[in-house]
């Protein structure tokens, strides 16, 4: 059962940071992809309000990171929630996506 806090909301802060709250899965991640694609250039993400994320979200983050790197755009995640950090650790992507040493791998 989904409650209001589960619903994914993707907004753009004044400084261009994409602020994500709610649940990220194979259905809702489309909204995140759309917002990322809406404005070319650097991608700065605030994932501090994400309550749930699965590998569908990881897929979009890895794709976006790779695309930014290929064209020389900045990719940065400025905040992560506990579920996001845990999934990064499980998948061995903490260092890749956050620029931190992943001590779990």
């Amino acid at each position: 059962m989904a409650d209001e806090s589960d619903v994914l909301e993707v907004t753009r802060a004044e400084d261009g940071t994409i602020v994500v709250t709610g649940d990220v899965d194979a259905h809702s991640v489309v909204d995140l992809s759309r917002e990322i694609d809406r404005r070319p250039g650097a991608v700065i993400l605030d994932l501090g309000g994400v309550g749930f994320i699965d590998s569908s979200g990881i897929r979009v983050l890895v794709e976006t990171h790779s695309r930014c790197r290929d064209v020389g755009n900045e990719f940065r995640i400025v905040a992560v929630s506990a579920p996001v950090r845990r999934l990064f650790e499980i998948t061995g992507l903490t260092g890749y996506l956050l620029g931190e040493v992943d001590e779990s791998n």
Binding site: H27, L87, T91
Partner: protein, 152 residues
């Protein structure tokens, strides 16, 4: 199927009891969740699993882990299977939880390996295996099922 208190019912999501696990009196609590094999079903399916676990008093860590596992495995069914429905069984057997996700015909074996860092795909089973204690493929009545065991 009958509705489970607190869970959505109707055509979009059906939650009931009665999956025959073949484990007799060891089964303490069980539900079956059935929903259309569409990504819009993922959140309601997770919600039904969460509601059942919380009602049964499962620890928060177990709830979070099984929500993640069912999301990954149901997503695999949607992406790789031709089935019309997602069917999920959840039951408490002694001190463990058993999560069954039906429609895994596309899987020949479960051998999750973390893909290379920049790879886009291939992390669903890795995640499901990481948050459960044991993951196995079983065939029941001609249907292939991914079964997860999680203590708690």
């Amino acid at each position: 199927m009958v509705g489970l208190a607190g869970a959505p019912t109707g055509d979009a999501l059906r939650v009931g009891r009665g999956l025959d696990p073949g484990r007799g009196s060891a089964v303490i609590a069980q539900i079956v969740v059935r929903a259309a094999a569409d990504a819009t079903s993922l959140s309601p399916v997770r919600g039904a699993v969460r509601a059942h676990l919380l009602a049964a008093g499962a620890p928060a860590e177990v709830v979070a882990d099984l929500e993640l596992a069912v999301s990954e495995l149901a997503t695999n069914v949607i992406r790789h299977s031709s089935t019309d429905d997602i069917v999920v069984g959840l039951e408490q057997v002694g001190s463990s939880w058993v999560l069954d996700v039906h429609g895994a015909a596309s899987l020949d074996a479960i051998a999750p390996q973390i893909p290379r860092v920049g790879s886009v795909d291939g992390r669903g089973l890795v995640v499901a295996a990481a948050v459960t204690d044991h993951l196995e493929l079983i065939d029941v009545g001609g249907e292939r099922i991914v079964r997860c065991w999680r203590a708690g």
